[in-house]
């Protein structure tokens, strides 16, 4: 890597694009991959928690169903939170803190009012989704900062990519899959980068918006003298008060939810449903109940309304509606979270997310192919290191995700090892398999692409087969209750398996061609253990491509 000042603005941007991409590309791919899967986080939940695959919830009473269960399970918990059923999550979810200080989430069947057996998994909404925005690194918010850095880098990469692409309009529809891998990679990189540019830009920017108080804490410092509680009360409508330490009887939750829904409906001129209830200090005279509509089904803007009631008599303590600036934030958050009810948009988000993954992966391919022979000639190991990181972060994370799914189907419900519960074991399997893919990539060098593509194909089919085998009366269940969720997840696994087979066959074919080329052209330059996968003798450069 040279640090000389480039002679022109375009060349400077080219240098920036290349090296920013190589440095943060792996992290960006991981974030994009998990974000793409998070579009269907609730559907992944249903797939991983078979007992929660229920028909849409009928009308039910919180007072009759939730109150007795919460009082029995979580009488001493400082608060209960209740996620009400939606089309995508047909169960009631009760969350509380148990006697050991551990946070617990239980699903309740709204049809019978009974607790559903613990499913022993974090599923899509508590493993894959948080991985997307925090990488599950909680210490000093490092995970959030890394994701924020990647988001900012994404914006830089998009802008610099536009600057260095000399023929955006001429090459608007150009994709030449039959050309050698370097050319095809660059075409696909440009195609997915340019045509899905608005999506990539908006998701990167909105991702930064969502956690503005972490990335730009000065807004809190400047306007609220560092008082974060005052900021959240103003902006998000949060409410808090101390416990009175006197017993109090919890008033009707149904009445509070109905009242909130009536107020919102009158204000908006259309039916509005609450989806979240929080009861703080449940059995105390100073208890209060927060009713919110976090994810409206028919709006992009999310989490704009909330009403806080006095728990003992149901009187309103605070009614909150977003201010205009916060509404902009809520709109961008809604665009990013994709929790609204619009299936066409959901699938388009998924496709656009995949296009982002393709854009990052093909950028890596181009970098590797453009330098492979040159590095071999000079005896440099940069290509091998970047290739190892790329394989591990591209195909490796796919394998780790599939291992997570397979573990979910194979581990018994009461599985426990060295104090780690079943949900924890699933996560450990994910991380260990992911680490192993990096090791495999290092040992197998260029061959690792092909090996891991076959692994993806096989593991996706295995996950699909295990779902069919371990879920009793699966077909009947899919047809009767949860057609979209069950069939959709299996269809995606099948799709990935087919795609991986195509990729593996193409890589093998290329390897055969490469071997022939290496033998005839550059065998004398190849150190042992390092080989050129594509075998081309004239690598394409950015300049050649864009001139």
């Amino acid at each position: 890597m040279e640090f000389n000042v480039e002679p022109t603005f375009r060349k400077s941007m080219s240098w920036l694009h290349t090296w920013a991409g190589v440095v943060v590309g792996s992290l960006l791919f991981v974030i994009f991959w998990m974000g793409t899967l998070s579009v269907f986080d609730r559907e992944i939940d249903r797939w991983m928690m078979p007992d929660t695959r229920l028909a849409p919830a009928p009308p039910f009473s919180l007072d009759q169903i939730i109150k007795p269960i919460a009082e029995e399970l979580a009488g001493n918990s400082p608060q209960w939170t209740i996620n009400l059923p939606t089309d995508r999550t047909p169960t009631i979810i009760l969350a509380y803190r148990d006697g050991n200080g551990k946070d617990v989430r239980r699903h309740i069947d709204p049809h019978t009012g009974k607790l559903i057996q613990e499913q022993g998994t974090h599923g899509g909404s508590r493993f894959i989704f948080p991985f997307h925005y925090s990488l599950h690194i909680k210490w000093k918010n490092i995970g959030y900062w890394l994701v924020g850095l990647a988001g900012m880098s994404m914006l830089v990469l998009l802008v610099s990519g536009i600057v260095i692409h000399k023929r955006i309009f001429q090459d608007f529809f150009i994709f030449r899959p039959k050309k050698h891998v370097q050319r095809a990679s660059l075409d696909l990189h440009n195609l997915t980068g340019i045509l899905a540019l608005p999506f990539h830009f908006v998701v990167a920017l909105s991702g930064l918006f969502i956690f503005f108080s972490i990335y730009f804490p000065w807004s809190v410092t400047a306007a609220y003298q560092g008082n974060k509680e005052a900021m959240t009360a103003d902006v998000y409508g949060t409410y808090t008060r101390e416990k009175a330490n006197r017993p109090g009887e919890l008033s009707s939750l149904d009445a509070m939810v109905n009242d909130a829904q009536a107020r919102w409906s009158a204000r908006l001129g259309e039916g509005a449903k609450a989806d979240f209830v929080r009861i703080v200090h449940p059995a105390d005279a100073a208890g209060f109940v927060q009713v919110r509509r976090i994810f409206p089904e028919h709006l992009v803007t999310m989490d704009s309304e909330g009403i806080v009631y006095n728990a003992t008599d149901g009187t309103i303590l605070k009614e909150h509606y977003s201010a205009p600036v916060r509404s902009i934030h809520a709109f961008f958050s809604g665009l990013h979270f994709v929790q609204f009810k619009h299936w066409t948009l959901r699938w388009l988000y998924f496709l656009a997310g995949l296009s982002g993954c393709v854009m990052i992966a093909t950028g890596f391919f181009f970098w590797l192919e453009a330098r492979r022979i040159r590095h071999v000639k000079k005896g440099l190991s940069g290509v091998r290191v970047v290739e190892c990181l790329t394989v591990g972060s591209v195909t490796g994370i796919m394998i780790a995700t599939l291992a997570f799914f397979i573990a979910n189907k194979l581990l018994p419900l009461d599985a426990k090892l060295a104090g780690v519960d079943r949900a924890g074991l699933e996560m450990w399997i994910f991380y260990l398999v992911w680490l192993a893919t990096f090791g495999h990539a290092w040992l197998r060098s260029t061959q690792a692409w092909c090996d891991q593509a076959w692994m993806i194909a096989g593991m996706a089919l295995l996950a699909l087969a295990l779902n069919w085998l371990t879920t009793s009366a699966y077909i009947a269940q899919v047809l009767e209750t949860d057609k979209v969720t069950g069939a959709g997840m299996d269809a995606i696994l099948l799709f990935f398996s087919i795609l991986a087979v195509i990729a593996a066959r193409r890589l093998r074919k290329q390897k055969t061609q490469k071997s022939a080329t290496i033998l005839t052209t550059s065998s004398s330059m190849q150190p042992r253990g390092i080989s050129s996968p594509s075998g081309q003798t004239a690598p394409v450069t950015w300049e050649e491509k864009h001139d």
């Binding site: 309009f169 001429q170 608007f172 529809f173 150009i174 994709f175 030449r176 899959p177 195609l191 997915t192 045509l195 899905a196 540019l197 608005p198 999506f199 908006v202 709006l299 992009v300 803007t301 709109f331 665009l335 609204f340 619009h342 066409t344 948009l345 388009l348 988000y349 496709l351 656009a352 296009s355």
Partner: protein, 111 residues
């Protein structure tokens, strides 16, 4: 159901608009085999650009009618990317399919 039909119509209109835009670019002519069609080549390119633009706007209208302002706008932006990629893939693997689109435009006397 009507919403789904409107979205399907939006997809068709946006795809056709991008297909028309693609054949205004000379480097795509050989892959789409448009050179055989001298009549099509003779048509003013600027007119095709206008038609493509109008098609894309019509697609936006259909998205707005089907899904409202917020969802409709997001839908349109995402459909632009997906349909443009679909045209690029058609040009790569099945360029002859674009003849069908040209045929529709010619039959409707728009170009």
């Amino acid at each position: 159901m009507i919403d789904l039909l409107l979205v399907a119509a939006a997809i068709a209109v946006i795809y056709a608009s991008f297909a028309l835009l693609a054949v205004t670019q000379e480097r795509n002519w050989s892959s789409a085999d448009v050179k055989k069609d001298m009549y099509f080549q003779a048509i003013n390119t600027r007119r095709k650009w206008w038609l493509s633009g109008i098609g894309l706007m019509l697609g936006y209208m259909l998205c707005l009618v089907s899904s409202g302002a917020s969802f409709g706008s997001a839908l349109w932006v995402l459909l632009l990317g997906v349909c443009a990629m679909a045209v690029a893939f058609t040009l790569s693997w099945k360029p002859q399919w674009l003849w069908f689109i040209f045929g529709i435009f010619r039959a409707s006397d728009l170009i």
